[in-house]
């Protein structure tokens, strides 16, 4: 492992410049949701049955597609609006995979590499894991899952959210007041989450540039090791879910099951996301959720390795 500051600076900046627009658009969207969408609309849009609500939430990315950077900001506001934490987390984990852009990019990237089974397995496994994590939260009180700052957003962060409006106040506001409120919320969220993105990008850039990836190729022939290795690569490389399939498809020598692990696990957890999650969740919940994501990805990809499509 050899650290080069110049390489680090380039990788760090490139991750920031790639992530920032999506983070900002996510926070703008979150601001609009906060200011214009009444809680009752969000609550009534999902089934009353909590299990069914989680199952439906896994598909929300098809209507509201969000990448993994932007979705964290949206999640904060959706929870603030009264969306159950279990549903919000399911949406957060599924949306970077179960959305039309990612489905198309995965299908294109794996041309001539079992593209249909790979795309189907990615979506299916991503959805399944998100729902499992969501269901595991059904009996958890929000206080055990969320940070104090999310339980009361207006007090959080560097930029104080001065508009601690109640729903009644919100309904009485004029359009221009709502717009001001939306922009204010967007700026609050952006500052709050961007600081974590900077930290995550910094840590990711160190590993991204300093670890010799060539030395890892010796494990490519063992399915168990190669799946774990590609999960490790996903954590280090911090790729965007809309392009990670192209990177995975271009890595030679590894079985498709290992590439699948990379594109399933990566959008749900990596070094950059660890810091973004810390802005919302308690560390214990992150640890538990990552454990579930890892185990299901590992078992799923290992079993699929026995089929010809994924070898």
């Amino acid at each position: 492992m050899e650290f080069n500051f110049n390489d680090f600076a380039k990788a760090f900046l490139s991750i920031l410049f790639t992530g920032m627009p999506f983070l900002l658009f996510g926070t703008l969207f979150a601001g609009i949701v906060e200011a214009f969408v009444p809680s009752k609309v969000i609550k009534s849009s999902l089934p009353k049955n909590p299990v069914l609500a989680v199952i439906v939430s896994g598909f929300l990315g098809m209507i509201l597609p969000m990448c993994e950077c932007g979705v964290v900001a949206v999640l904060r506001r959706l929870i603030n609006k009264g969306l159950p934490v279990s549903c919000a987390v399911t949406y957060m984990l599924a949306s970077p995979i179960v959305n039309p852009i990612v489905i198309l990019s995965t299908y294109t990237a794996f041309t001539n590499q079992s593209q249909f089974p790979m795309t189907g397995a990615r979506i299916g496994m991503g959805y399944f894991i998100a729902v499992i994590v969501g269901l595991s939260l059904l009996r958890q009180p929000a206080q055990k899952v969320l940070n104090q700052s999310v339980l009361f957003i207006p007090r959080s962060g560097l930029f104080k959210g001065g508009f601690a409006r109640t729903e009644t106040n919100l309904e009485m506001m004029s359009f221009s007041s709502k717009l001001r409120h939306a922009l204010h919320c967007a700026s609050v969220d952006f500052i709050d989450v961007a600081a974590f993105l900077v930290m995550g990008a910094g840590i990711a850039a160190i590993f991204n540039t300093a670890i010799p990836q060539t030395s890892l190729a010796v494990f490519a022939n063992d399915p168990f090791l190669s799946i774990n290795l590609m999960i490790g690569m996903a954590i280090i490389l911090c790729l965007c879910s809309s392009t990670d399939a192209f990177v995975a498809a271009s890595i030679t020598g590894f079985p498709n099951s290992a590439k699948l692990a990379m594109v399933v696990f990566g959008p749900m957890f990596d070094l950059k996301l660890l810091f973004l999650y810390l802005s919302v969740f308690r560390p214990f919940f992150i640890f538990r959720a990552v454990g579930i994501i890892y185990i299901v990805t590992l078992i799923g990809c290992y079993l699929l390795n026995f089929t010809s499509w994924f070898q």
Binding site: L13, S14, F17, L28, R180, H184
Partner: protein, 271 residues
Amino acid sequence: MRLGISLRKLIAGVLPLIALTAWAGLMIWFYFDPRINVLTNPFLHRWVLLAGIFLALIVIFRFIEISRNGMIALNCGEECRDSDELTVGKLVVFFTLIIPFFLAIIVTPASFSGQFVRNRGVELIAPAVITKGIPEMTADEVQSVLGEVTVYDTDVIEILMLADDPAARSALEKKEVSFIAQLVYPEAKAGISEKNRNIFYAVRLYMLCCAADARPVGILVRTPTSLEGKEMSWLKISGILNYVNTNGRLVPEVTLKTSELIPTPEEQYLY
């Protein structure tokens, strides 16, 4: 004492605006500075610019609010009185947002180091994801072009792609080719071993999204004598092309005839 408290509240309110202004400025500047915008795929440039403009608009909106409502717009008044205060946490967040970003922009070099390329591993076969540079000529057309020129001017990707095309490959093999690439040694030059003394990789970096996912593709070049060039410098390379069986795959190799240092091309990366 009252003035001191007000000043702290003012700073606490203004810090986020400074951070947002700085970021808006950097994102807009990114679009116009080729040293920085080379860090992402061109399709993202407009998105970064758009994000910078949106951030700038948010800052303008906040300033208008402040000019209208004064401190109330900066701070949240009675609703969250304790969060108006300037705390160590807020200063840490502010400096986290500002310092690493600016520092990285100041020091970021034009190119990655040779060590970065070695860490990634040079791919000697055509990556499946690159569509740009796929030769459009048939084998006959390649042959007819070769009949007219003594040196076939090509690029790294085309040479790699031709390895999988038997007709075109046989037309080009043993012919002189020229292309541009970056110089990377198989090991750090300081402690290079005897077996690697007369070879180097002619490398191009291709990126999908941003420089952090850049992967090197290249051709092994054999030289009659040890080459003394600076790593990652741009070269115009001419040499005889061969396709060598390596682990069951035909991989191109070039025996160097001439190499010439050239300025950094406009397109540093392949997309």
